[in-house]
């Protein structure tokens, strides 16, 4: 989409052609569960860090899919790995394994 430069706020349009999806594909290979997420937000609602940090697993998955890796990694670094999200997830996503995998894959330079 052409940005004419007249907006009040910077454009929030996501251009999937502009970022490298190889890492997300690698993540999806290792953790096929990540594609199952339907962004219901149960994980974020049950997270014990809620209200104290910006950790939000639903957002992490969305951000990774959109190539905003730095933000996602910062969120993940707050995780205490307590596993509550695993229990509440209606899609049965193994979040306790997904989160370490995210750090493992996205930290590789």
């Amino acid at each position: 989409m052409i940005d004419f430069g007249y907006g009040i706020s910077p454009s929030s349009a996501i251009n999937l052609d502009k970022f490298d999806r190889t890492r997300f594909e690698e993540l999806a290979r290792e953790e096929p569960d990540v594609l199952k997420c339907m962004a219901c937000g149960s994980c974020a609602a049950s997270c014990p860090t809620a209200g104290h940090s910006d950790m939000n697993l639903r957002k992490v998955i969305l951000l990774l899919g959109r190539g905003r890796e730095d933000e996602a990694l910062r969120m993940v670094s707050h995780c205490m790995l307590c596993g509550k999200c695993l229990i509440v997830c209606p899609r049965g996503i193994n979040t306790r394994h997904l989160i370490p995998s995210v750090t493992k894959i996205y930290q590789k330079k």
């Binding site: 049950s46 014990p48 860090t49 809620a50 209200g51 104290h52 940090s53 910062r74 993940v76 670094s77 707050h78 995780c79 205490m80 790995l81 307590c82 596993g83 509550k84 695993l86 229990i87 509440v88 049965g92 996503i93 193994n94 306790r96 394994h97 370490p100 750090t103 493992k104 930290q107």
Partner: protein
Amino acid sequence: MKDRFISGYNDFVLPFVIGMSFILIYLAIGIIRVIAQLPAQDRKKFFLSLINPKLWIINLKDIICDVLLHTRIWKRKPLLGYMHSSIAFGWFMLIVLGHIETWMFVPDRLSTFYYPVFFRFFVMETDHTIGGSFFFFLMDFFLLIVLSGVFLAMFKRIRSRIFGMRRTTNNQLPDRIAMYCLWAIFPVRLLAESFTAGIAGGSFLTRPMYWLFSNFLTNTYHILPTWWAYSTLLGTFFVLLPFTRYMHIPTEAFLIVLRNAGIKVSHPRKGYSIAQIYSCSNCGMCIDACPMMGQKKNLRYATVYFNRLLRRRNWARCEESADKCLMCGKCVAVCPVGVDSCNIKRSLRGLKAAPAPADYGYFSTYSLSESATTSPSSAEPAAGQEKILYYAGCMTQLTPVISKAVGTVLDRAGVNWEFMDRDGGICCGRPLILAGRDERAREMIRSNTELIRQSGATVLLLSCPICYKVFRENYDLKGIRIVHYTEYFDELVRLGRITLRNSGEKLVYHDPCELGRGCKVYKEPRRVLGAVGELVEAEKHHDESICCGGSLGSLTLSYEDRKDITMHSLDNLLYASPERIVTACPLCLKTFSPYSPKKVSDFAEVVAQNMN
């Protein structure tokens, strides 16, 4: 009784001497390596334990009970216990008696270490004495016991179910060769001793065999070959020993000494862990015990195979196996050797975990619940009155029924209590420890300790067994009593601060892994539940209770596999057809509830409902 040969030597002893020398050198190097690899403070602990006479007595007792008599297997499965102890204790007695005989009749031969083993070959009987025939009787008696054990062992390979084992270990080639050697050693020994019984004498077993054979084998040419065979079998067995399951025979005693010294696993393949994995006898008790084994595809994740892979340094498959484990601790509880495989797996996870930077700066924004800080009781509690701080933990936040019930009971008992994390709190750290990330957990431990110290509480009450275990083991909270609510309510009942009425409901109690096997709390919840209803036991209970499947221990177990475990565990609980399942863990409650055909309640809930 005197020497038959002046030299006291025959070439046939060579295989035995070579095998024995090899294994002794191998063991000496192994022990030095293990001690060298121990962390400095553990090494100090080990050496200090060697000069402690009290520990010597404990070590001796444990070695006799575990290594020779196998009392732990006897308690669980008598026939299997007999099989193991007959071979171990019988063989040990044969060696000891051989030495005693040598010492009695030809004391100057004691210095050659093969002589007592082949005693019957090297001596000839000149006169009968009561002492001599007594020892001969004992030798034959213990040989018979060993033989009975060997025959049971052979039979176990065909039908393990008779011994109470559904599945037994799948042996690999070296194991199999060593196993056949072991099976052959004692029958061949019987043959060798029988052939020489005409010269060296014998007792109720060897003498009749000699008479039998002498009827059709009139020459003596078969004496030497059988002794050669006996020696070769022993030699082969000893040379194969380090590469097979039978390594546990020499290493188990060393493991007991290390364990009693209080050493803990620090590296999955170094130091103490080496002693642990080499002591695994591959008996396969852990296969039936593991809750994952309901599905055949998970068989390869059994602890026995994990130990074997770790011995061979197959890191990739070890890691897979370690990540799958539920850490319910059942394999450790049933292990006759007591291999602490959960901690080995945990340290392996830690070793293989990818570095992940953690940012826990936000911990400083947590504070005690409003009531805990604003109430005047945060000052010194009145004399004789304890101040209780209730930490519900993450999981209880998902099951508010528990914290509500705990509150009701505490209010009724009239105790002075505060809710530490009513508005959410920091995780206890156990989930991270289970994932092998101890250093990250340390930050939580530090922050929580600060918060607890701030509150001025004297008792820390927990409703989650996962938290309970970590608070007991990893926190330094001197002066504060850490108690699980099952124990505390039991205490309140016994002190008469709450009274219960018996509803007559048929209840079954599920032992949560972390509370039962993890912290050994079994009788307190049962005592209280026995007072509120009719308590029945599940098919497998106490130490052998089956994990609910929701365990945070497993990192990779899929949703479907977990569900299978849950169903299996429920079947086990409903064995005595109870009306209600009671558990004392929020995670178990959460896991069981969707699948259980019967109502699942928490312990606190049941107590709160049945208070007068």
